[in-house]
Amino acid sequence: MAIPTPPVAPLRRRTRIHEVIIQGLLFLCGLISIFVTTGIIYELSKEAYLFFGYQQWLPAHKPLVADIAPEQTLFEVGTQGPALEVGSHYRIGDEIMLLEAVDGALVQMQRGAQQTEPIAHRAGLTLSREVNPNLLEFLTGTAWEPHNGRFGILPLLNSTLIVSSIAILVALPLGLATAIYLSEYATPTARSRLKPILEILAGVPTVVYGFFALTFMTPLLRAIFGSGVVEIYNMASAGIVVGILILPFVSTVSEDALSAVPRSLREAAYGLGATRLETAIQIVLPAAFSGIAAAVILAASRAIGETMVVAIAAGAGPNFTFNPFKAAETMTGHIARISGGDLSYDSLDYNSIFAVGLMLFLMTLVLNIISQRIVRRFREVYE
């Protein structure tokens, strides 16, 4: 039988340059996200580092009692104001000195510190003290006035936490109840009507929510609690509106978690004679717990990072208070306000908002990572 035989194929690998180039370009696209993260971390850290190294001279209210000569290390100064600190740098005019000892009004200085020239100074000139933000003060100080040498982030952090807590208090019960209703009770028609509303709610720009907080929520709160109690700018109004803002997020993600619970589990409960409520609350909800927890944590991270509502409605100016009806600036609000003005590079303001930003970034990052961990574990259970 004469079967025509096929020719042997040239199977040799062809060089497909463009395939290689395309793959390389696509890989670069994927890599850009790494650059973005590196960029964020690098820039925030760099400027925050500069912030902690920022040298600022503030009046120490210690005038020289008598003229001093360039080589004179022992001299007398006034005694009002806060006490001088041994080991700190002080400055008169262009000269920086290091305080070595102090005895009442008598001080002993190492002259010409930090490469400055020791020079003569006239009586009455007053000392400036060096102010350096340090990490401990940053984390524990209760006043944020960088230009007065007070670098405590607590007022900003505190109001951020109060606003976010209010937001979660609003969004968690409402969002969870909505999710349970949508996933366990609602008819398909009701669902198809309600879900778009939640989607619209989620799509409203935050600046519009800010407007809403200022022109509706604040007057409402003032009408209820009295305008003597509720300030025009206050954390409660901002918190409630941020709660509404994250509500669709909590309900959608929770609903997904609830619907991921297998039908068989529900049917098992019904088969034992459980009512719909008992099934929903005692069987489905616990099974979806970690998914819901992840949603809430992610929502909290959103609330912490939310800027416009607080910038508009929570007040401008750090204020360390636990009263939600008072005005107090949050971390994001502070960053927005400071950078909204004329900000010059390498100024104290410029560096300080990056320190606040780094704090904000780390907080949200930790929350995001926790929630992703939880989600992954949740998936492992049901997939």
Partner: protein
């Protein structure tokens, strides 16, 4: 014959109780769900309430007196408008306008705006919300007679065509959002031009090329984390990188295309790129989902014919994922359009009257404009903020409707 007593409580009674508590909780769930609906309604009503209402207006010159040969002001051609303007303002002011921008280059609408602002010069002395206008009309009239005897009460639609068309102004009565809308469109355009190709590219890489190794896992985790970074942080990144470090490029100096009014990195280009980075993770994640949804059998069919990976992607994966990618991208765009915080940080201009002319212009956007008007203490600006919010919401609604249409049209079976 005796039966053992049941250890269960009276069953029917208990079931009844359980059903009552079930009903009660159902009501609670329904009310909670309803609150979301109410919140949206109240939000919209608040905005509408501030977008319409009575105003007390005082004109410096009655516009009717500016009619020429019986033609009312708003129907006059440019020449007539110029004459009217020249006749009613000082020569010095006229010369200044000429210097700012020669009249030959201005159009009729521009001259009309000048007449509005400098000749008629209407001043709103007081404004009321829609609710007040409808329900406390008498009180409004009283206030008007008592406090503003010379003013005229007009019902004002703040969201007029003029509002959309007019430039920014420091007078609320003639201020508009044209500059802001153009700014928004420019920044979004740049954001999309950057993030769509890069985002889809990254998604294709992760779904079609990436092997399950360390670097690719890091990239994936990293993208998920980036999606959760607060937007204001992106603003700080944009400020540090685009505005500051690459200021030479984003200002256009390096290309010799610098806009003399800016000459720094706080430009449309920086804003667009910042928003681009912001939506990048969203676009990647959405595109990944769309690519995942393309059935594997298509890839196998293509490979089985001797297609290379890229040929398979280009001819089969991308076309079939396209509707999903577009839907996701539109949603990302709607997110970017509404973003305010990062643009504040990178330095949106507080007040610009000239339309942006290119990527190196100063910028303002619709949300920035809303923010600025909201934070003004005078009431009239709140009406502007409300009207601008409506414009923004309409833009977003149009976008989302497009996305939904796309999604429904592309529900094809394989």
């Amino acid at each position: 014959m005796s039966q053992a007593p049941s250890k269960f409580a009276d069953a029917s009674l208990q079931v009844n109780r359980r059903h009552v508590s079930g009903k009660l909780w159902l009501t609670i769930f329904q009310v909670a769900t309803l609150i979301g609906v109410v919140a949206l309604t109240v939000l919209l009503l608040t905005i509408l309430n501030d977008s319409f209402g009575y105003v007390a207006v005082e004109n410096k010159v009655d516009p009717d007196s500016l009619a020429v040969n019986g033609i009312p002001l708003d129907a006059q051609d440019k020449e007539t408008l110029m004459q009217t303007l020249r006749a009613n303002i000082s020569a010095g002011l006229y010369a200044r306008f000429e210097r700012d921008q020669p009249f030959a280059e201005r159009d009729a609408a521009n001259v009309y705006a000048l007449i509005q602002e400098f000749v008629i010069s209407p001043r709103i002395l007081e404004s009321w919300t829609l609710y007040d206008s409808l329900f406390i009309r008498e009180q409004i009239s009283e206030t008007l007679e008592r406090d503003f005897p010379n003013a005229e009460l007009q019902f004002r639609n703040w969201l007029s065509w003029n509002f959309v068309r007019a430039q920014q102004s420091s007078y609320p009565e003639i201020a508009g959002v044209r500059t802001a809308i153009l700014g928004s469109l420019w920044t979004i355009g740049i954001a999309i031009a950057f993030s769509l190709p890069v985002g889809v590219g990254a998604a294709v890489y992760l779904q079609e090329y990436a092997q399950d190794n360390q670097i690719n896992r890091i990239i994936q985790t990293n993208i998920n984390n980036l999606a959760g970074v607060p937007s204001i942080i992106y603003g700080m990144l944009g400020l540090a990188i685009f505005v500051r470090a690459f200021g030479l490029f984003t200002s256009g100096i390096a290309f010799g295309a610098v806009d003399p009014a800016t000459a720094n990195g706080r430009t449309i280009l920086s804003a667009g790129l910042t928003l681009g980075l912001l939506v990048l993770p969203l676009i990647i994640i959405n595109a990944q989902e769309a690519i995942k949804a393309v059935p594997n059998s298509l890839r196998e069919a293509s490979f089985g014919l001797g297609a290379t990976r890229w040929e398979t992607i280009w001819a089969h994966v991308l076309p079939n994922a396209l509707p999903g990618i577009l839907t996701g991208s539109i949603l990302a765009v709607s997110r970017a359009i509404g973003e305010t915080a990062p643009l504040i940080v990178i330095g949106a201009s507080t007040f610009i009257q000239v339309d942006p002319s290119g990527p190196f212009s100063k910028f303002t956007t619709l949300p920035i404009q809303i923010f600025q008007w909201t934070t003004r203490p005078q009431g009239a600006y709140h009406h502007l903020a409300a009207a601008a919010s409506l414009v923004l919401l309409v833009m977003l609604l149009t976008l989302n409707a497009t996305a939904i249409l796309l999604r429904n049209r592309s529900r094809r079976s394989y």
